[in-house]
Symmetry: none
Subunit: 191 residues, 4 copies
DNA sequence: GAATAATCGAGACGGTACGTCCTGTCTTCAA
DNA sequence: TTGAAGACAGGACGTACCGTCTCGATTATTC
C-alpha cells in the first residue's frame, strides 16, 4: 500500500526542492560548476543554506539530481522496434544524446570531473547516470546479435564501453559532438 | 644559433624546479590531488610558497608538469618494427600505459578532472599529454593500413579516439585496467 | 523604551568578544602592537580568524576596543569636590593616567601611531578616547574659573590641549611619566 | 686634511641618493607613509631595491633623511635679536613651523607614528629632528628669563615640552595649525 | 489545547586554502 | 665594489567556502 507515514514536525517544503534544483542548474550552466558555491545557489533560490544541506550531501549530489530532473527522460526510450535496424537505433540514440550534450555538455563534464574527486559521488553518478546508459547500449547490441546484425564473437560489454568511451573522450577533450560522429561510431561498431 | 641570452637578475634555482615537482608528485600520490594544498607542497619541498607561484600558475599546471617529467618517456618509443605485427605493437603500448596507470591512475584521473574546470589547463593538457599519445596510435594504425593489417576504409583518427576513449571511460568509472583489456581492445580494432 | 529587537540568525557569542579582547591586550602588552598578528590573537583566544574579522575591521580597532574595556573607567570619576582644589584634582587625574600609562604606555603609543595611518580609526580614537579625556580637563578648568582658582582670561580649551599635549609629547619621545611631572604640569597651569 | 680615501670598486652614484630621496618624499606625500613600499620607491626612482638598502637601513630612515633635506633649514635661524621680544620670536618660530606643517603635516605625522613602532628610528628621529627644535625653544626661553620677559621660577624645559606638545597634540588629532594658534601658545607661555 | 518536533531564514562558528603583498637577504651579469 | 634585476625564505593580509551549529519563528503531528 505504500502508506506515506507522515513524520511529526514541520514537513519539508516540497516546492523548495525544485526551486533549488532549478537555481543550481541555472547557475551551473551560466558560470560553470566550479564557480558556483552552495551559498550562491541558496541565495539564488531564496532559501537558507541549511535547507540545501538538508536535501543533498554535496554540491555534486545536488547538481547530479538537478541534471536528472532535466535529462532523466532520454535514457528510457529507444526500445528497439523490428522495422528499424539496431544500427539505426544506436545512431538515433547517439544523436539524441549528442544533441543534449550540445546544450549542456559543460555540466556533464563537470559531473565527470566531480566524480573523480569524490568516491561517494562517483558511485552515485555511475549507478544513476552511467550504468543505465551503458546497459541500454549493451542490450541493444545483444538484440543486434539476436537479429544477426552483429557477429556472435563480438563482446557487447566492451563495445558499449567503446561507444561511450569514444564520445566521452571527445567531449572531455573539448570537441563538439555532431551527428556525423554518431553515424561514424555506429558504422564502426556494425562495420 | 639559439643563443642562450641570460636574463638579468638572479636566475631561478633550477634544482628547486625538480624538488618541487617531486614533492608535488609524492604528495598527490599519497593523498590524492584534491587533498594537497600548494602550501603543503612548498613545505614538503622546503621552499617558499611564492617560489611555487613564480613557476606555475596553478596546482594543476604544476602537477601536470610533474607527471610529465615522470612519464614523458613512455609516449616516445613504440617505433614499429617489421617483425612484429601492428596489433602486437598496439597491445604492447596499451600494456605499458595500463601498467603505469595502475600505479598512478589517481593522478591521471585528477588531471582529466582538472582539465574540465580550467580551459587553459585543458589546452596544455591536450597539447602536451593527450595529443602525442593519440597521434602515436593514429600513426601506428596508418602503418597497419600500409602493411595490409587494417582495411583501407577504416578511419585511423576515429579508431585512435575509440582506443583511448575506451580505457579513459573504464578508468574514469573506477575500473582497473589490466592486460586482458589491452588484448581485447587491440583485438577489437584489428578484428 | 529601548526595545531590544533580536536580529535573525545565530547570535554572536558575546563571551568570545571578551576572550578576543583579552587575548589581544595580553599579546600586545607582551610583544608590542607591531609584532602581533590577527592570526596570533585568534589562536590565543581559541577562535577562528574570521570571528575576529566579524567583529573588528582592523587590528587597531580591536586593540582600541580592548584598551577601552580595560581603561574606560578612569575617564569617568574626578567629579570635583568642594573641599579639594581643582589643581589637586588635576594633579590626581594626571597621576592616575600616568600610573596606567606606566604599565601600558606602549599600547597607547601604538594606538596613537595607528591613528595617524588610518582616518577611520583616527576618528574612532578621537571620539572614544581622546575627546572624553580632553573635555574632562576642560570642565575641570572651567570649574576652577568659577571658583576663582584660575583667571577668567585663560582659555580652558587651549590649556587642556597643553596639558594633554605635554604628556603625549613626553610619552611619544620615550620619556617616563611620573608623579613629579603631574605636579609640575598642574603647577604650571595654575601658577 | 680629511683625505677622502677612495675605496676600490665602482663608486656609489651620488646622484642616486637624491633621486631616491625625492621619490620617497613624493610618494609619501601622495599616498601616505604606510602605503608606500620600498619596492615602489625604488621603481619610482628608477633604481634597484638593493641600492636603497645600501643607503638606508629602513624606510623610516630614508624618509626621515628625505624630510631633512627638505626642511633642515627651518630649525637653524631664529637667533634672537635684541630689538624683538622673545615672545615675538617664539611666535614667529611657531608660525614658520606651522606653515611648513600645513603643506607637509602628513609626513610629520607619519614620522611620529613610525617612531612609535621602531626604537632605532625613534632614536634617530629624536636626536636629529625633535631635540634641535626643542632646545631651540628652550634657549629662547632662557634668553627670555635673562631679559626679564619670563619669571625665573618658570622651567624652560617643561615650557618647551608644553609648546611642542600642544601643537603635536593638535596635529596628531587632525587639527589644522594656524597663526592664531601660534599667537595663543606664545601668549600663554608669556602671560 | 498543549506539548513536541522538524523545518524555515538567517547568520555565526571553527577550519582550510587561496593568491597577493612586502620585507630583508642573496645571487647573477655588466659596468 | 656598485648597479640593475630579480629570485629567495618568511610571514601577514583579507577573502572565499566549507560543513556545522544555534537562534527565534513557523507549522505540522501527537498527547
Amino acid at each position: 500500500m505504500h502508506e506515506e507515514r507522515s513524520k511529526p514536525g514541520r514537513p519539508r517544503d516540497r516546492a523548495a526542492d525544485d526551486t533549488i534544483r532549478k537555481a543550481a542548474l541555472k547557475l551551473v550552466r551560466e558560470r560553470g560548476y566550479r564557480n558556483v558555491a552552495i551559498t550562491t545557489i541558496a541565495r539564488e533560490a531564496g532559501v537558507a543554506r541549511q535547507s540545501v544541506y538538508n536535501r543533498w550531501a554535496t554540491k555534486a549530489d545536488l547538481v547530479l539530481d538537478a541534471v536528472f530532473e532535466d535529462t532523466g527522460r532520454n535514457a528510457e526510450p529507444a526500445s528497439p522496434t523490428p522495422d528499424i535496424s539496431c544500427r539505426m537505433h544506436l545512431e538515433a540514440f547517439l544523436e539524441r544524446v549528442f544533441d543534449h550534450i550540445g546544450s549542456d555538455g559543460g555540466t556533464l563534464r563537470a559531473l565527470i570531473a566531480a566524480a573523480q574527486e569524490d568516491p561517494d559521488f562517483q558511485n552515485a553518478f555511475r549507478e544513476r547516470f552511467v550504468k543505465p546508459r551503458e546497459e541500454l547500449v549493451t542490450r541493444l547490441l545483444i538484440e543486434a546479435q539476436d537479429r544477426g546484425e552483429l557477429p556472435r564473437w563480438a563482446d557487447p560489454d566492451l563495445l558499449s564501453a567503446m561507444v561511450h568511451g569514444t564520445f566521452w573522450y571527445r567531449l572531455l577533450n573539448g570537441h563538439d559532438l555532431d551527428h556525423g560522429l554518431a553515424r561514424e561510431i555506429a558504422a564502426s561498431v556494425f562495420r
